[in-house]
Symmetry: D2
Subunit: 345 residues, 4 copies
């Protein structure tokens, strides 16, 4: 079976294993206080051109719940697109830390500044505001859950709005490598250092075994952050593993090469699918694409390929999600497309 259902079906990139092997018997400090980790922290600051704080966390849900529960006071809530990972796919992890996730209807996985403005207005103009959770944070993902991307203008507008209402802008960059190498956005890593309060540079879905770099641009949000990590069971004893993985990823542009590869595989798929006459539910902008196929075509391919999110559309068509990755081989893409075309003929 060929998996196009996620970007974490493989182990990790070889450069990571190589560096792990090379360093394995060397003793180091623990819990992320080692020199490998410090090196990777510095490297990230260098790339962002800022003196932001950097922490390495194990996974995305954990990163989200630690950051969000660190920022918010007990009665505060976080705004999210209704398709956002924290709103849908974290088994109530954010609520588990005591905070409401206020869902905003999304368009192509994104939320517009005017929607955010309305949410703030609705709260602060209500004379009984105290009876409602206070929106004090905006969570967006870039790329979004449906592979779309924000523009720099949008990012700046959201950032400015948040600050106007004393709220924090946090960007979940689980697939940031794909965003940063996509032609469909002008947001750079430096921009994320400048126009967000915190963001993550995802490793898990970008070729690492696991790991997300949490970058905290606003110094006050970094206060005692390591206590927060430990409090939630997220301080890895052998923290070096995170530092080493990011060292390997950030060497020789590897992180960006992997992102570019995942995008290219997706763009090839999209081009082939389109030229076979099929359309897409969402704009194709990174490594997740959502083609709409006739049910019989999908049936014919189900014994060879795995994808996700079958969603019935009009006229018996079905939208699916195809996800490519740093590890997707060219032949898998070719095979998928030849199947699509064969059926078409």
């Amino acid at each position: 079976m060929i998996r196009f259902c996620d970007d974490y079906s493989e182990g990790c990139h070889e450069e990571i294993l190589k560096l792990l092997q090379k360093t394995s018997r060397t003793q180091s400090d623990t819990y992320g206080l080692d020199s490998y980790t410090k090196h990777s922290e510095d490297r990230i600051r260098e790339l962002i051109k800022s003196d932001s704080a950097v922490h390495f966390l194990i996974g995305g849900t954990q990163a989200n719940l630690i950051l969000i529960s660190s920022v918010l006071r007990p009665y505060q809530a976080v705004l999210s697109a209704d398709t956002g990972h924290i709103a849908v796919h974290e088994t109530g992890a954010i609520e588990g830390t005591g905070h409401k996730v206020i869902s905003i209807p999304s368009c192509n996985g994104k939320i517009r500044p005017d929607q955010v403005l309305e949410a703030f207005h609705k709260h602060y103009s209500d004379p009984t505001a105290e009876h409602m959770p206070q929106p004090a944070m905006l969570y967006i993902s870039h790329p979004t859950e449906v592979g779309t991307l924000y523009s720099l203008e949008e990012l700046k507008a959201l950032y400015q709005l948040c600050h106007e209402f004393h709220a924090v802008l946090y960007v979940d960059g689980a697939r940031l490598g794909c965003a940063l190498t996509s032609p469909y956005t002008d947001i750079t890593l430096e921009d994320l250092g400048r126009y967000t309060d915190a963001f993550t540079i995802g490793g898990t879905k970008m070729g690492a075994m696991f790991g997300e770099a949490m970058v905290i641009n606003q110094p006050s949000l970094n206060h005692d952050f390591r206590y927060m990590i430990k409090h939630h069971g997220g301080l890895l004893a052998k923290g070096r593993l995170l530092g080493i993985q990011f060292e390997a990823l950030l060497n020789n542009n590897l992180y960006f090469e992997l992102g570019k590869h995942a995008n290219n595989m997706a763009f090839q798929l999209a081009k082939g699918i389109q030229s076979a006459g099929y359309s897409f539910r969402y704009p194709v902008q990174s490594n997740q694409i959502f083609p709409i196929f006739p049910a019989p075509l999908l049936e014919s391919m189900r014994d060879q390929f795995v994808w996700s999110s079958d969603t019935p559309m009009e006229d018996g068509m079905i939208c699916i999600r195809l996800c490519t990755s740093w590890a997707t081989p060219q032949e898998n893409v070719d095979l998928f497309l030849s199947n699509v075309k064969k059926q078409k003929d």
Copy 2:
């Protein structure tokens, strides 16, 4: 610097890296539903000779907080030795899930059945019991935080007591490999499957990169446990990493060999220290030992060795903690002992 301050200063055992490398480009199911993980789950059940449920978690604090918060209702508390990891070294992670850790004064890191009986009695005989957190779980570690071990008789007594009071017995086995291969306890892996409700088989401190196997013997406690893991951000996307690591550790008795090695290194240290005329704060039973040295001796060694937990004792003596591991080389032990003896002479 030679580190005797913990058992997680190195990367991981070579067999693990080898298996990770071998499998790295193979696609698999995710979130622990892959065949590597299933294989390791089966292997553990085989070793315990039971049909217990097995889940692989990333770290010890996370394992503790997920299990404890899954078992307890909101008003319930967990009993622990005052030296227990959950009582001291988890930054309030258990309280973070809403539950009080009730500390019981420990003797050599252990708590006696009569102390546990008293705690239950104290609660249930109080007419205002509803005004106090209800003790519904007992947490012990084996080996304890000071390296000591429970006997099978003690384990059985605690298990029976817990069940008498409708409480759950949970054993933290972060260093279980050292316990199971120590001559100072008669508790076997099968006993843990029989006389506990849940226990962990620690990987992080036993040669893995990270990972704890959570074994749940009582079926009712396993209900929806994967939801609990995800709720706390502990479901590793590439769950196979845990399955693969435990596969390597459980192959050819490796896990037990590594435990035995760590113990032997500690026992050699202890023997040399004793023959040099020094005594110990706690019985020497596994890979953590607590010798008491004169301050000047320690000063003379501080530029070459790292240890932890300097505790002033009577007469200017200082108790320290030395921790050996699966990776401790013989020469480090020899060097430490030669230093001790040199100073003595």
Copy 3:
């Protein structure tokens, strides 16, 4: 200023003060273990004709958060109409106990059985259900937040559905006296004892100083419930105050008389408003009504009356909420209507 903005602007009914005065210097047991409270518990069981458990709590938000957090396991969620009190007006109190409130779009403040079925289906048919909070409870209010009422047939259908999916049905009866005396529903108190797992009989909005009776029909949900109350700071030291208030309310049908009065005042308002040619946003069924007026009419009355929830509608009309209560005097209703009619002329 005449207040039509809520049903808790006054102190409490005279019968309550009389009974408080009569008993004030008598000593009693505390924390709700007194004989007044036991008497009121029995009285409620008598009225419901069941042996349900009864607990008296101080307020509605507290009642909701204690019951819901007692029923749900950490990863579970409660379904609610998007207009439900727990979804909108409790400052994230339910999320504060760790649980997501899953909003269902409401029609006239109610949710239909098919919507609930869909929510359960959506969850349990998803292969990645573990990544989403598990819906394990349905919260409805009767009357709803917009004054509407469920029918017995609807209640039975929701109850059956919940049990099919191992979920709990909980009815918030903050204004239950108005529901039970309204001609627009056939649900009786006995029905609530039979077709819900738990429900409240509201006092605060029905003439008490404060207090909600929590009736728990399913015995397993009552286990250790008093611990839960204390854990959330809800066990009133002088618990007798709750027992005494409900004793007064349940004497001589007072509770029902007060509900009937509140309804009648609202129905008179509605009739007069309708005959003046204005319509309503929601069906008029209990003591909260939502007439739609021209803005100038409202402006002319704003210096004499207080109402709430001004909502702009089409054509410059504004919908407001008028709330009557056990204490609304006839002359206030007459005065309001004469103002409406005067403007009309």
Copy 4:
């Protein structure tokens, strides 16, 4: 039966009922925004001679959990005497909000500044401090759980220490009226406004039906505090009930008269008991006293009196707790003493 087991066995003082009756049919704003409440807030500020913020809460456990969880960040803990109410008698309410209560061994219910200093030192001097909950608050009660009182010098020392370590000093004044009128302390109400960050003026145990005034001296701690109250279900719909009760209590010095009465009743008991030859476990300083009696004497009185906390002492003696109140009649004291003396003879 005559109850000496608590100070909340009666209803409330007549002045309160009178004022409730007088105001009962008057309409007012809700949720504590009414003029009665504002008046009482002002009155308290006047008495403290400060511009502190004042909020009225329903009960003591609720007041503690709301204040503490408002002040602390998720990884922070509160220090308390091991006999403190939050450490023993709140069913884990503080832990329920996510925070560890760090117990400090008490002497006569009090903790000394040197103990607090040690606790702070222990944390901040530990190189692995991040692995432990951070002590960021000190909770004391005045009077303590055993009726003893702090001196102004002690209060000042604790306050200074807390501020040195960026921690908050919070004083639980559930029985503050007894403290302020006892000859055994020089702490005044003004001192509490000056040398604490927050404190409560208890009503429930001082003659009110219920209610605690939370006084917040440090402005930053008051930020959005009403959101916190609502978030925990503590915002009383008819908030005026609290304002009115405190108005009655603070009129004509009533609050202080009631405290003085409770103390006097206890002091009379103590004097009589002492003159009968019995001693006390703790210094007699307010309305809770702890005489030590022979078991047979207690047996002979058990059918007439109720007390609490029977604690076996040496030589078959038993220590009990006697609690007087604002409502204790002189004849109850006389009767108790005559019984004690009769037995003695």
